[in-house]
Symmetry: C2
Subunit: 380 residues, 2 copies
């Protein structure tokens, strides 16, 4: 596997993209992105488990029932969530608009939104900006698309890798946005992945579920589950590799690369977590199951006392022990061992060893800083 | 029911108390408190559900198996938690020391601790201070006892009320400490209650469980469950009221007064939550059960995004909806109604109406401020 220099969503063959400022954000920053495949292709998506779902997410789930798409249109600055029938109509109209301009099927357009909840998304701004967005599509503008989906993010989050499947070069690229309301369960941010691999939609879904389980489902910034977020992957088959239609060796290789992409983007989200000054890696070993290990690691990751201890470079394993104990799994002082790396460094490792079983999990989180409070106290 | 002016743990007949600085805290502030009943009497306790329990808590549970006690000795500045056999021996030695000085049974001494986890509690400091602590016991020094149990608290938390049972004046008084690691499940702080009511230990326990369920179990400051905390109530019967031995009218009256005491102290803990600038009352109505309503209300209370919105005086019902939705109870945009009082005020009310059932619960919490981060980033 090779990591591509300046890799992005247009690194794979047959994908173009664009991003611009449509005026949804008051700041005038880019807020509308489009990613398009030259052909409609197998597409898989995973979504937030929050029962309060944003309009575009409801629509995307509906459209993706046929496991096929050709374009992703995403705005930032407004989540189009809790916006009623009017908001749902805006999502529908956005899909119709883009499909008309691209001359593709409406159902092949994935609509996504991120930003403030509860305010109507101004469709007229999307309508006004869409022609230029489509006209400017280019195989070199993946970075602009990566920029237009950001909210409080300080950095763009992109990556692409190249693997070889059946003698053919296959590229997978992706971009993501954070950076608050980050907590699993899937998918707690937006992430759009493209690949020129030839793979059936069934195997693509399977690969995506495996990849997200070990990446986006293992991160937490503030323990708050979002209403909006999703991960999608479009696979247009342009690389010409032998079609992956079973869990063969090529599938394993593809899944491994996809997991790498997702893990890289997940870590970038944590690193750029709202107000984050530290990156914390929490290993829990000796649990009954992987799921239990992850639950325990997330309880530690979501403890404000652990997060503030990290912020203050103030190692305190009592707080880690208290977080584990709060789950009432019977863990006591005598059945837990905790080790730390230096809290003074930017990258902190917390290792917890239990005597409940043989399984482990790693979770990534950030610290809790006064800046997080400032960002979220003022955000409107 | 009458609220007593300057009411405290020595307001009830037959109780004396004292508090002083034993040098456990580096700051030189009071850190050792003693509350004593003139006679051994029915006593009930409730404890944290954290499976990692502090040494004094383990000892107190053991000693209280006979539902009887005569004294509470509590230090602040050190939690005596995660301190192994040595720490447990310190708790035992403390009980033995106090019992010897008071000439009462060792098993009638409740030991409690609060403060930093993972450091050995210096027994020699308790030993050196104990004679003066006992010698200075007075029926006027409840306030000193209330002071000696504080940690990061900014204010003392005390109250006493008077009720009439069978023609006799009965007094219940209590003191409590917060102010971080505040999250139910019982008991997430220290609270010591005294009363001169005559009541059997069985009915006392029943009254305490009812009172805590509607008070201390309904508050959250940071969602972190403590390893140390407990609520105890000693009832010495000095008021001469007809012994309460069943769930009669006097029992209801007593429980109501005890609930009032606990609710008052619980609210005071929230008001004095670490870094708190706002007091938030969250009502959830229309739930399947009281427990479900409380779970939902606590999810809202523990959302860092809701808490920072309160801090920033920035009403955002999207965050409240997202917190409810994260519980995956099937609540959607169409089955939730949210109303707010002004976020600009110090006391904020958040009301959530659901369509799941007929039950409700109220939970109290504080906001999340930069000060919380500073306090917990530096605390050692």
């Amino acid at each position: 596997m090779k990591i591509l220099n300046k890799g992005t969503v247009t690194s794979a063959q047959g994908f173009s993209a664009n991003g611009l400022a449509a005026g949804i954000k008051k700041s005038g920053k880019p807020d509308l992105s489009l990613i398009v495949s030259d052909v409609a292709c197998p597409t898989a998506g995973v979504y937030t488990k929050n029962s309060v779902k944003a309009a575009p997410l409801v629509l995307a789930k509906e459209y993706l029932k046929n496991n096929r798409a050709q374009a992703v249109i995403c705005n930032s600055g407004n989540a189009n969530c809790f916006t009623g029938k009017k908001g749902f109509a805006v999502a529908q109209k956005t899909a119709a608009l883009i499909s008309k301009l691209l001359k593709i099927k409406t159902q092949d357009v994935i609509v996504a939104s991120t930003g403030i909840i509860g305010k109507q998304l101004p469709f007229e701004k999307i309508k006004a900006a869409a022609p230029a967005l489509v006209a400017g599509l280019s195989t070199h503008k993946g970075h602009l698309a990566a920029k237009g989906i950001l909210t409080t993010d300080l950095t763009q989050k992109e990556i692409a890798v190249q693997i070889t499947l059946g003698g053919k070069k296959v590229i997978i690229g992706g971009c993501a946005k954070g950076s608050g309301m980050i907590q699993p369960n899937m998918a707690t941010m937006l992430c759009f992945i493209t690949t020129d691999a030839a793979i059936t939609s069934k195997m693509l879904k399977q690969a995506l579920l495996a990849a997200t389980d070990h990446s986006f489902n293992c991160i937490s910034v503030d323990g708050c589950m979002s209403t909006n977020d999703m991960v999608s992957v479009m696979a247009n088959g342009f690389s010409g590799n032998p079609l992956i239609s079973s869990a063969n060796a090529d599938f394993q290789k593809f899944t491994q690369a996809l997991t790498f992409i997702c893990t890289d983007l997940a870590k970038k989200i944590v690193l750029d977590g709202e107000g984050a000054t530290k990156f914390i890696e929490i290993l829990v070993d000796g649990a009954k199951s992987h799921t239990q290990a992850k639950t325990i690691a997330l309880a530690i990751a979501n403890s404000n006392l652990v997060k503030t201890a990290a912020y203050g470079s103030n190692p305190n394993w009592g707080r880690v022990a208290a977080a584990v104990g709060s789950l009432s799994l019977g863990v006591t002082e005598n059945t837990i061992k905790i080790t730390f790396s230096s809290f003074a460094k930017k990258h902190i490792k917390i290792n917890v060893f239990l005597k409940l079983g043989q399984n482990k999990a790693i979770v990534y989180t950030s610290d809790l800083s006064p800046q997080y409070v400032h960002i979220n106290g003022k955000y409107t």
